[in-house]
């Protein structure tokens, strides 16, 4: 399901359909997180990606009024070359991975409590407090940057 959504993201003509299929992909990835018992990451993935970021994308697309297909006819050969190179990368990496002995290691699927909020919170606020605070500064600077980028046009006028 994730793969189907991803392929539709790339191939659909209209950006709005692309965004909707990307939401499908994020839901599928969250399902995989739940299968691996990483519930905190699943919820964060749903809230941050499928909730916030995709709404931001949709808002930008609707604001630009891009519903019609404005994409010009592009070079067929370039498209084909991109497809071939991506497929080659996929084949090479998969062939290399299946050769390694570690690829048959088992995963702890539905058990293990280190994906739960309690454990992650303890680790996050004990060992990674400085990184957490720095990320808040990063958010502040990103917010300021976005506002400055968004309002520069008016000052020029």
């Amino acid at each position: 399901m994730a793969l189907f959504g991803a392929i539709k993201v790339v191939t659909s003509k209209s950006p709005v359909y692309s965004i909707l299929y990307l939401i499908v992909v994020f839901f599928a990835i969250s399902g995989h997180y739940i299968l691996m018992n990483a519930q905190f990451l699943a919820i964060v993935n749903l809230i941050v990606y499928a909730g916030a970021i995709m709404v931001l994308f949709l808002f930008v697309v609707m604001m630009m009024n891009l519903n019609t297909d404005t994409e010009p006819k592009k070079n067929r050969i370039l498209q084909f070359a991109g497809l071939i190179s991506g497929g080659c990368l996929f084949l090479i990496v998969v062939a290399a991975i299946t050769k390694t002995a570690d690829s048959n290691n088992l995963m702890l699927m539905a058990i293990g409590d280190h994906g739960l909020i309690k454990k992650l919170g303890m680790v996050l606020f004990k060992d990674y407090v400085i990184a957490f605070e720095i990320s808040s500064v990063l958010f502040l600077s990103a917010m300021i940057g976005a506002v400055i980028l968004g309002t520069r046009e008016k000052q020029v006028k």
Partner: protein, 110 residues
Amino acid sequence: MEIKWYIGLAVALFCTGIVGVLTRRNSIIIFMCIELMLNAVNLLLVAFSKMHAASAIGIADPSIVSNAQIFVFFIMVVAAAEVSVGLAIIVMLYRNTRSVDVNFLNRLKN
């Protein structure tokens, strides 16, 4: 479940994102493909953390298993910041050129 299936899924998602970046001309869709690649890497990190957990069951300090998931959390934080700035750049680009086609940026050459 063996790790190789998740490796295959993540690599396939990543390559789909690469194909999208290489073939599409719409800058918003290119941006979404970058998000797709980020999420493929996140999925792979969580899968490897669970593999590590399966191999380190009797370990004394269990908190080292959670490190990968904290890492994924910080990747999500950085991706959210990146999306806000990138979308602001795309909006500004659209205001200046009335288009989201990346081919218009060829003008930077001359």
